[in-house]
Amino acid sequence: MAVAAKDLTKDYQFGFNDGEVYVFKAAKGLSREVVADISRRKSEPAWMLAYRLKALEHFQRRPLPTWGADLSELDFDDIYYYVRPAEEQGRTWDEVPAAIKQTFDRLGIPEAERKYLAGVSAQYESEVVYHSINKDLERQGVIFCDCDTGLREHEDIFRQYFGTVVPPNDNKFAALNSSVWSGGSFVYVPKGVRVEIPLQAYFRINSESMGQFERTLIIAEEGSFVHYVEGCTAPTYSRDSLHSAVVEIIAQPGAHVRYTTIQNWSTNVYNLVTKRAIAKAGATVQWVDGNLGSKVTAKYPSIYLMGEGAHGEILSVAFAGDGQHQDAGGKCIHVAPNTTSTIVSKSVSKGTGRTSYRGHLKVHPRAHGVRSTVRCDALLLDESARSDTYPYMDIEADDVEIGHEATVSKVGDEQLFYLGSRGISEQEATAMVVNGFIEPFTKELPMEYAVELNRLIALQMEGSVG
């Protein structure tokens, strides 16, 4: 596996390694001591330490899931669970250690911040090293900070919601995150406030065998709106790294939360993430989830539609190249009446890449008048590529309207010939067909991200045509 991952480095432009930068690095492996040390270094209240240790027990007790992607090569003892990159968090980029700032410069973050973002958070290894938020938003009471700061400075709100959407015993990786979490984002949008410009978090793993366990908690009060965007990359190493995040969203009545991810980890990263949202009456939650990178991704963003008239959308795209497995999907749980949901999944497999769609649609007995549509489309670029769908439906109410459609297609010779007859090379033509295929996804992204995504797809196509 290590060899296959290395071969891919030529296509992965974010695989550069700026050398190791840290002020503290815990010993490899996971134990009560490591967990207690993380908590002590963060000067956390006692309840959080207790919470972490309990979660650790869950993690240790639970077996590795075997129903999904192959995780048998994942070695939990060969991982650094906490690496502190800097003493202090920067409020300006000048306060960030030069080597780290250089990494984010190369990733174009400060530039993006100047151009089109209302707030930026940059996490490097285990900690957020840079943070900024638009002053206007701050004045309106919007909180956007790393989760550690959230706990320290807004403990009452934090404690009220933390772990209520994804409890530590939810699954093995949620338990892992709950025991060693560090960094991530804490977002609070007060009643009626609309954050019109996206807030962006950027996650970078830099060292080998690193484990990154950020924790994100978003609370959108009544009638508010926020769009949160996250991106992530890592250098390519022959040893595997682990990224295991937990994201919790609470959309209060009438609130609207959109959460966009462009995941582009290097192909030596296990990306095992739990993302879940609660939508109260009349609220809307949208997961826009793009998975390009990683060795293995297991991620099924879910929405619990708890209040009447709530609406959920999960729009995901997965791209699996040689040796990659994107096990993605979505879950919508309709608890309240007259709730609606849409799941659209687009996957592209190339070479020996493998994509799976795993979905769960549940309608509770009391949830009458539910409408939901599920659509999964897979595109295969090579004979050796693979795609599977596991749509699971569990409908306990009567008057529901459910639509389900799934297609598998190949990039057709006719399409490539047609583009070729107009002078377009096979490589570019393939990228155009793929970008066309995921266009329903791309058009939901802010323009800058759409352009970047199309560029990344084009890069993935390079060298793919003999």
Binding site: F417, S421, G436, I438
Partner: protein, 270 residues
């Protein structure tokens, strides 16, 4: 042939003894044809005679395997080149059944095509050019943001091919039954489109089995294809002859049995 003795005066598409197989079946059986830049030629023939096969082969569709003969443009063989290389050398094919590419807008499609041809127009100029050419083909500019050929009617697809022809201005264009399935008004619009781009810079091979389009676009020469070969060549009068007699007499003269050919004899009656 005299090709080796006479220097090539103008660029031309030269097809010599071309034999082609599809999935192991011989479809073209020694096609000879020459279309110089600046001339308009018509290629007629009953259904199934191999006209589309010839068009696809000239552009290099991978399904068509050349087993003998050659196909040159400007004196250089095309056979080793990929479709996109051929297109960049100035070849163009208006497809009998244009392909839809969901998610790729007409603007993006044509921008990429122009860029491939070394003409990366600034956005404003690109949009102006495209709007102008759409208008000439009586198409709404709303087509710019629609996905290429996706959900287009048959007639819209054909007109879109001519829009592309006008935008790309190739040195040699093959129009494969661009006229079929069009009503009288659409046919005239398409014919006008072809006449507008026609000129000393462009060679055009119009594939059709009706004379209708040739009433509007007068060909310099006419060829008739049957059973994978060109069985007759001549001037405009050949069109009138086919119109009067059907293909039977030509087929008989070439030693082919008319009854065995699908569509033979009825081609002129439509």
């Amino acid at each position: 042939m005299t090709g080796t003795l006479t220097p090539v005066a103008t660029e031309a598409l030269e097809i010599e003894g071309l034999a082609v197989e599809v999935d192991g079946t011989r479809i073209l059986d020694g096609v000879d044809l020459r279309v110089p830049r600046g001339e308009v030629h018509a290629l007629m023939g009953p259904n199934g005679s191999g006209k589309s096969t010839l068009a696809y082969t000239v552009l290099g569709h991978p399904k068509y395997r050349v087993v003998a003969g050659d196909c040159r443009w400007g004196g250089i063989s095309l056979l080793a080149q990929t479709p996109d290389e051929r297109a960049r050398r100035g070849l163009f094919l208006s497809l009998q059944y244009p392909t839809a590419i969901p998610g790729v807008s007409v603007v993006n499609f044509l921008r990429a095509a122009l860029k491939a041809h070394g003409r990366d127009l600034p956005a404003r100029e690109l949009l102006m050019t495209l709007r102008r050419e759409l208008e000439a083909l009586k198409m709404d500019s709303a087509f710019l943001s629609r996905y290429i050929n996706d959900g287009f009617s048959g007639g819209e697809k054909k007109r879109m091919e001519i829009v592309q022809l006008a935008v790309l201005r190739p040195a040699l264009a093959i129009l494969d039954e661009t006229d079929s399935g069009l009503d009288v008004d659409a046919l005239r619009t398409v014919a006008e489109g072809v006449n507008r781009v026609r000129g000393a810079d462009m060679g055009i091979l119009i594939i059709t089995h009706y004379q209708r389009i040739l009433d509007y676009v007068t060909p310099d020469r006419v060829h008739v294809m049957a059973a994978g070969r060109v069985i007759a060549s001549g001037g405009r009068e050949l069109v009138d002859r086919i119109e009067r007699e059907g293909y039977d007499r030509l087929l008989q003269a070439a030693g082919l049995e008319p009854s065995r050919l699908e569509g033979a004899g009825s081609a002129a009656s439509a």
